[in-house]
């Protein structure tokens, strides 16, 4: 029998129809209902086209036109996994691998979503909005696993690593992990997340996070997107931040052929805070998109966003940042800055800040810059004997410094510095400044 493999939304919807009785949570009524709602949304939207405002600058036609397969349960045990510095949860091709994870003895709960699923009613799906975000709909329809973290009130959770590893696969697997993180009142946690894959492998990694940070709690969420060069990374984070609580997201968006880092944060309690910073390193042939949406839904909240994008070769970057200040959100203090550095005439950046303010007593500012390396700066370094490539690396590092220094957590900052250095290595530049 020969058949043309189905692509795009039809293929994923067909997979859902075929698998629905076997997906985790099948025959659990609320899970089935949740999946069906997501499927209905995805039937309506399909993969968004560029006519959809939120996807104007990021074209998913290539993803919609590709054939993806099911991930196999990986038994690969020759994975190159960096040594564990902290407790960690490891996912291979989207599935939790207890044998590679070290989650014993934590002062809080961290477990596989597939295992915990029956107990997640009212939690799973409480923040994701499949009707507005098609990729969250796709995830809601087909999720199979993920990490569930619950740090009880008052507990200092320390550092938790979340590793997502893609393996070499002929099947071009697509996987849609759903991660849930809940911090009780006054709790704290640092999550260092990394997503990696082999350079030649084709795959679609479509994670969705639902994050709740209760009153007075603090979550540091560092993300290193270092997917393989043929990978597609489409990630959606939803976070709700309560009174006096803080959510600090830092994303290094450096891997994948096509990457979208979409973050929706709602500040819902008095004096809640959000810090959303990031660096996008976009090399030849890559497309990187950061899209943030911040809801100031309570008074006296503060938000800080600094995003820096460096583009080399023939590449494209996108930053879309929306701040919505609700009428109740008096005394809002919002700041957003996005800056792009173009290292090549063939690189392109689209930048779209958007403020919607319905309260009258607010302080909100935003700015955007696009530029090239300063010729005077470059000449100064070269005139001191520093070779051109190294001088450029130094100036790019300097450009990124502000965003990197905004990262409060040292574990995340260190991981990030390493990620940036690795990117330079792949661009064929040995390094920038020497430490003195």
């Amino acid at each position: 029998m020969t058949a043309v493999a189905a692509t795009g939304s039809a293929a994923f919807l067909g997979r859902y129809e075929g698998l629905r009785t076997r997906l985790p949570g099948a025959r659990v009524a609320w899970v089935e209902a949740l999946r069906e709602r997501a499927a209905e949304a995805f039937r309506q939207s399909g993969f968004p086209t560029r006519r959809v405002e939120a996807w104007k600058y990021t074209d998913l036609a290539g993803v919609a036109g590709a054939v993806f397969g099911e991930p196999l349960t990986s038994v690969e045990d020759r994975l190159e996994i960096p040594a564990a510095m902290h407790p960690r949860a490891v996912f291979v091709d989207g599935r939790f691998r207890p044998d590679l994870s070290t989650l014993a003895g934590l002062g809080f709960t961290a477990e596989s979503l597939a295992d915990a699923l029956p107990r997640l009613e009212g939690w799973l799906g409480s923040l994701a909005r499949p009707a507005s975000e098609p990729m969250a709909a796709l995830n809601g329809m087909l999720f199979e696993d993920g990490l569930v973290v619950h740090v009880p009130a008052g507990v200092a959770g320390g550092v938790l690593e979340l590793l997502s590893i893609a393996t070499e696969s002929e099947r071009a697997p697509a996987y849609h992990p759903r991660h849930l993180v809940r911090l009780g009142a006054g709790a704290s946690l640092t999550i260092v997340e990394s997503a990696t894959g082999p350079s030649g492998a084709r795959y679609l990694h479509n994670p969705v996070f639902e994050i709740e940070v209760a009153e007075g709690a603090r979550l540091n969420h560092g993300r290193l997107q270092l997917e393989g060069h043929e990978g597609v990374f489409l990630s959606t984070v939803y976070a709700r931040v309560g009174a006096g609580a803080a959510y600090d997201n830092f994303t290094l968006n450096a891997g994948a052929r096509l990457a979208r880092n979409e973050i929706h944060v709602a500040l819902t309690g008095l004096k809640a805070e959000a810090h959303m910073n990031g660096v996008q390193l976009v090399g030849d042939g890559q497309h990187a998109d950061t899209t943030t949406s911040l809801d100031h839904a309570a008074p006296d909240c503060a938000s800080r966003q600094t995003y820096k994008t460096v583009l080399a070769g023939r590449s494209r970057g996108v930053f879309q940042g929306k701040i919505h200040v609700h009428q109740v959100a008096q005394k809002t203090d919002g700041y957003q800055m996005n800056q792009a550095l173009l290292l090549s005439p063939e690189a392109e950046i689209d930048s779209k800040p958007q403020l919607e303010i319905y309260a009258d007593d607010v302080k909100c500012s935003h700015g955007a810059t696009v530029g090239e390396l300063d010729a005077d700066h470059l000449f100064f370094l070269r005139a001191r004997g520093i070779p051109e490539a190294q001088a450029k690396a130094i100036l790019v590092e300097a450009f990124l410094t502000e965003a990197v220094e905004a990262v409060a957590d040292e574990t995340i900052r260190t991981a990030l510095t390493r990620g940036v250095a690795g990117w330079w290595g792949r661009q064929g530049v040995a390094g920038g400044l020497e430490e003195a």
């Binding site: 000449f379 100064f380 001191r384 070779p387 100036l395 990124l400 430490e435 003195a436």
Partner: protein
């Protein structure tokens, strides 16, 4: 050491240097004086290899090498150093890291052993003490928030650390008080010796009281119109450029 012959250069299509010839033997310090617009800064940038300064005719030989064929970093490695008139600020680039990176880039290119962080700090601190620079200037980003005088001190620190064979000082004295002026002079004088030469570009004579040159040249409309001993600087101070140009 440096031999400039019949140098013509344009900036943005405008002819600035018009057949400048100048030879500076090893071990000598020469001064170039001239009014604004005579081509002083253009000469310094042409020697350092800045983009946008196009040589249309003539040659520059540096220790027997064709200087104009070299990239700016190759010139630095070969021993050419330009002390900038207006040093740039580099936010996000720590001064100490920059200095060590520059020093090691040059050492590497010359096949010399690299300096580790400890050795470097020791060396830098010793130089800074001589230059009367506070140590926190190492920790700050290069020239960011530095006063005019501090930027020039930082240039002199680079000069002292990189110890080039040839230094061009492009109006390093502009805007400096007498103490800073002496610091610049002390740095240059401390390097003087048979293997070091310098070209001191200045508008005023006062720096030359402290760095006494072997030769003084007057630049006008892109060429040397008069040369002489240190006494020529005194004459210029008394008669002004107009007087010298008229006599030339």
């Amino acid at each position: 050491m440096l031999k400039i012959e019949n140098l013509h250069a344009t900036v943005e299509g405008k002819q600035i240097l018009n057949g400048l010839s100048l030879e500076i033997p090893a071990g000598e310090v020469h001064a170039i004086m001239g009014p604004n617009g005579s081509g002083k800064s253009t000469l310094s940038y042409v020697l350092a290899g800045r983009e946008g300064y196009e040589v249309t005719e003539g040659s520059v030989s540096f220790n027997g090498q064709d200087l104009l064929a070299m990239e700016p970093e190759e010139r630095a490695v070969a021993g050419m150093f330009l002390a900038f008139q207006a040093p740039v600020e580099l936010p996000g680039v720590g001064n100490a890291n920059f200095l060590r990176t520059a020093l090691n880039a040059i050492r590497r290119a010359r096949g010399e052993a690299e300096i580790d962080a400890m050795q470097f700090l020791k060396l830098a601190r010793a130089r800074m003490k001589v230059l009367n620079m506070p140590e926190d200037m190492l920790k700050r980003p290069v020239n960011v928030g530095f006063s005019g005088g501090e930027k020039k001190r930082n240039e002199m620190l680079q000069l002292a650390l990189l110890a080039p064979g040839f230094a061009v000082l492009d109006e390093t004295d502009s805007g400096l008080d007498i103490d800073a002026l002496k610091m610049v002079a002390d740095t240059v004088n401390s390097l003087r010796g048979p293997a070091f030469s310098a070209l001191v570009i200045t508008h005023y004579q006062r720096l030359l009281n402290h760095i006494v040159p072997d030769r003084v040249h007057v630049l006008s409309a892109g060429r040397i119109v008069k040369s002489g001993g240190p006494e020529l600087a005194q004459e210029l101070e008394a008669a002004g450029y107009a007087g010298v140009q008229a006599a030339a």
